[in-house]
């Protein structure tokens, strides 16, 4: 397939293997060495670049980890590296210099790119840096630089004037509009790539990948009468920032999941299909009683998400099938998500858990509690929930629930914690659910 996109100022048309990571294309084929290789698993942010997508004649820019992004995924889009942003009067760069926010310099281009996206999208600058690791500075100087940038932006919306984006950005919407690209087909469907590309980029080189993130048919969040319908290609960021979703649950908690650049490309369906026993969205959607719509291009079927996870990494999905939609019922619920990991942000949980409850006069009428990291699949705690029905939402009920929950789980000891710890932690998270849910009354 031919991939056509804009890299910084230049239109690129290439026939090379679209499966290679964007990072390698940038560094080895375009010789742009400012984007660095730190870990190749989306955990350091040294390879962060901007990805611009045309929507309603406007280009929306977001950060992505170029190590996890196949070249094919940037077809028809605008990729911006540090070389495409640098300017002697760029206030992000100037403030980073003046505060000493760079030491060895290896992570620095990634930080500049992330702060650029934050400036463009008027995002909290520190939040925008949740995917960037620096081993030298201790971050204080970076925080100060970020704050100075945002203070200096208070009086203007004109990023061109502050040299945060260069002049050539002005023509990008038109230029992207001119790119015609053909949807490709393949035997393996890939979403954002944030799971498949983790340390496995070489294994994927020979596969026939179908790049699905261009398929706008799969990227939507539409409220129906009874449920919210979410296209399978919807990214985590789109999910978290969606107003229909935030009417249903507190989306602030979801910022504990992955990092900004990973959420910007990772898809909800991808997180489900990955079938990690600790998958955050699996756990959340289990509690929300999500249904998934599966197709094999001739016929569709709908199943409940709790029927989807079969055994360790085994899912109820045939080779020729794909998820096309996720449906969350619009029930009146109180909802809470808990996640404990070694590091609070951008880490995989030791145990995570979600709880969705409907009460009348403080009596539990329906409740779903899910837990990750305590079983071979993301687990719905059925017996625990069953016990709690018709009981009061109080400490006594939750205490008893804990003792049932520990019988439903089979945690193993691994790098994320001993089984004794995970057993204790799940009970603590159930207690935390109660505290949080009581707070919502």
């Amino acid at each position: 397939m031919t991939v056509e996109f804009i890299l910084n100022k230049e239109t690129i048309t290439t026939d090379i293997n679209p499966n290679i990571p964007l990072l390698d294309f940038i560094r080895d084929h375009q010789m742009l060495k400012g984007t660095k290789i730190g870990c190749r698993e989306g955990d350091c942010g040294a390879c962060t670049v901007l990805l611009g997508e045309l929507k309603n004649n406007e280009v929306i820019y977001k950060t992505i980890t170029s190590c996890l992004t196949p070249l094919g995924n940037v077809n028809g889009r605008h990729v911006v590296t540090i070389e495409g942003l640098s300017h002697p009067d760029n206030i992000i760069q100037l403030n980073m210099i003046s505060t000493g926010a760079t030491q060895c310099g290896f992570c620095t281009p990634g930080f500049v790119v992330s702060l650029t996206a934050a400036a463009i999208n008027k995002q909290n600058p520190v939040e925008s840096l949740d995917g960037n690791i620096c081993r030298c500075t201790g971050y204080n100087s970076i925080k100060i630089a970020s704050q100075l940038v945002f203070d200096q932006l208070q009086d203007t919306d004109n990023l061109l004037a502050k040299n945060i984006v260069p002049q050539y950005f002005a023509n990008i919407p038109d230029r992207l509009g001119d790119i015609k690209f053909v949807k490709n087909t393949g035997t393996t469907i890939i979403g954002g790539g944030t799971d498949l590309y983790v340390q496995k980029q070489r294994v994927l080189l020979d596969k026939q990948l179908e790049f699905s993130t261009h398929n706008s048919d799969l990227r939507y969040i539409i409220p129906d009468k009874d449920s919210i319908r979410i296209g399978a290609g919807t990214t985590m960021s789109e999910f978290i920032s969606n107003k229909h979703i935030s009417e249903l649950i507190d989306t602030e908690q979801l910022k504990l999941i992955a990092s900004t650049p990973v959420r910007n490309i990772a898809t909800i369906a991808g997180n489900l299909v990955n079938a990690s026993p600790i998958g955050d969205f699996s756990v959340i959607l289990l509690a929300l009683n999500a249904k998934i719509l599966i197709t094999n291009s001739t016929k569709n079927r709908e199943i409940s998400l709790d029927e989807f996870f079969v055994s360790y990494k085994k899912i109820n999905l045939q080779q020729d099938e794909m998820i096309i939609e996720i449906k969350i019922p619009k029930d009146t619920i109180k909802f809470n998500f808990e996640k404990v990991s070694k590091r609070m942000y951008l880490d995989i949980a030791s145990v995570n858990s979600a709880c969705a409850v409907y009460t009348e006069n403080n009596i539990i009428r329906s409740i779903r509690i899910s837990a990750g990291g305590v079983y071979e699949i993301p687990l719905l705690l059925r017996e625990t929930a069953e016990y709690m029905i018709a009981k009061e939402l109080n400490e006594k009920t939750f205490k008893e629930a804990c003792s049932i929950a520990v019988k439903e789980i089979k945690p193993i000891s691994d790098v994320r914690g001993s089984k004794e710890y995970k057993t204790l932690l799940l009970q603590q998270l159930i207690k935390a659910h109660l505290i949080q849910l009581e707070g919502q009354q």
Partner: protein, 734 residues
Amino acid sequence: MKNIDSISHVSGKSVYVDDIPVLDNTLYALIVPATIAHGVLKKIEYTGDHSDFVRMITASDIPGENQIGSIIPDEELLSSQDIHFMGQAIAIIVAKSLNSAYMIRDEVHVEYDEYKAITDPRVAFNSGNIIGESRKFQCGDIVWADCDTIVSDRVDMGGQEHLYLETHGSYVIPTERGYKVISSTQSPSSVQKMIARVLGISMHLVEVDVNRLGGGFGGKEDQATPIACMAALAVNITDRPVKLILDRIDDLKMTGKRHPYSADYKIGMKSNKIIAYDVIFYQNAGASADLSPAVLERTLFHATNSYYIPNFKATAYSCRTNLPPNTAFRGFGGPQGMFVIEAAIDKLAEKSGIPAYVLQEANLMKNGDKFPYGQITDNLMLTDAWSKIKTIKNVYEEEIEQFNHNNKYFSKGMAIMPITFGISFTNTMMNQGSALVNIYQDGSIGLSTGAVEMGQGVNTRILQALISSFGVSADRVKMETTNTTRAINTSPSAASSTHDLNGWATLDACNQLIRRLEKLLIDEYQAGSVEFINNRVIFNDRSLSWDELIQFAFTKRVDLAAHGYYCTPDIYFDKEKEKGHPFAYYTTGVAIQMATVDIIRGTYKLDKIDIIHDSGRVMNSNLDRGQIEGALAQGLGWMLLEDLQYDDNGRLLSNALSTYKIPDINFMPDIKIEFIGANNPLGLMGSKSIGEPPLMYGIAGYFAVRNAMRNHKNIDMAYKTPLTPERILMGLFS
């Protein structure tokens, strides 16, 4: 002055090894790592027919010595037979492309006889696996009967991955003059020496060039050497340029870390004065000596941290296990020594009911006090820093009391951490530096030193010294790469001493040139006093621009290049007696840390830290703050977050950035720093070195969290790091 590299850093133009455009005929090398931790290599072969395959290099291909041990010769470059750790290099694959090299490596067939691995230093000690001799520092006579309170306990400290963002790498090019080696190393001369040894050639045939490092932290002091040696070996065999870059997974798997330690101590006090301390350290050295004996020694130097303890005995063993050889990491054994004494004081406090800070203060080192190894302190700002921290402590205490009163599910605590860190390589011989100052005929200047820039800003500091000497502006000077043809026989950039050693050497060269220029002015103009300032030279009520002076000097045949040299005066150490004066001076300071523990979830938040730091006469506050904040992050990470795990077979479990977590922007507390300090005659421009010492402020993080737990309820929790959410929650419920 801002870090002179920061402009190229923020624009992505700074060049690291992997960014250098390669020559057309470059080959790509990969290391084949052992997949067992202990055993014997029976067979290794590649029988595939990949078209890009060039060579598989094994131990028998080495033309010189298969030996890279720097302190003790106990480490092969490529295993000839014995396997000592998982990840040990057993062969090198050379291929025409990197991708092909990976595919070929996957098909290498290896057979072993596997033996049981040892990963625990105490198990190694009990089975007699000790590297070198045990070391013992001693002073006074311990009489337990004189003590009114005695406690004893065991302490265990985890290791720490360096996680320099730029992984190890080297690019070696064959030239008609030998080998040109581009390496991400803190120690160009070690690379040069070892390549010569491995290839069986003389050092002058090996030119090592270092532009900059994307972080080092000690991880590239000794362990960049084998990477460069392997690339050079591949060049020797193929006669083509070879690039060898470790990917993150290989880097984590193959290289050593900060040493995990286990320790037993017994400590006693009488009316708040510590009068007896007996401690035994078991260092987990990994599979070979590497720098472990030197690290072990520094543990002993810092075993009393900032406290005067009259009766003291410390014994230390470097225990050989089947982990990758552990190595230098910022602090170099000092943090482990300091953590144990702090744990001992914490336990004393718990038993006696006297707050730890009272005991810390009562035993704080004063100027004129003697360390157990004989050095008498002076120019310490410890008590000054302490009194400032005490004022802050009152504010902290009030906040904590109020918060804890009002919160059921969260508990706050705080801890104070003084530091006293000796500056110098404890191996006296290594305290030397050199510089080459070249003044071109147009007045511009090139400066080469033995210092390696790895983000610490050493080039900026040395440049500051040079321009203050010549009175020229910074734009007249280029900091050259670190190159073994311009700065020879250099010590590694380590031990917080790089800018002192190479900065003083630079000033030596500058002084020679100034004397020559002054002589010229006296000879030609009968100059009286001569002053170099603002790009001019002023004498006899007249002045010349610097450039005019240099052009004039050139026409008058004045030598405009000078080699400068420095070796630290008056330092020595007698290893027989374990006494001496090993350090040029001490860097000191005190920190107070506040933390909040989530009682339900077992998680914690580092609220804030206040640091009073003695930096001598601050020569660059921007760089000094950066060093303190960065070192603190690593110290806090080591204490609380960075969980290095091996299984019983010696396999690294935290083997990727998804499982090994270092501090991120949300982890760090709010940081306030105040500098105190006076002119330090042995420090560059009156300053005090700052690279390593502030790391140990991070120890306060451990005790702040522990105290937050203790403020909630009595706990009986082993002193074990890192203090992860798992240990916190289990500690709260034990």
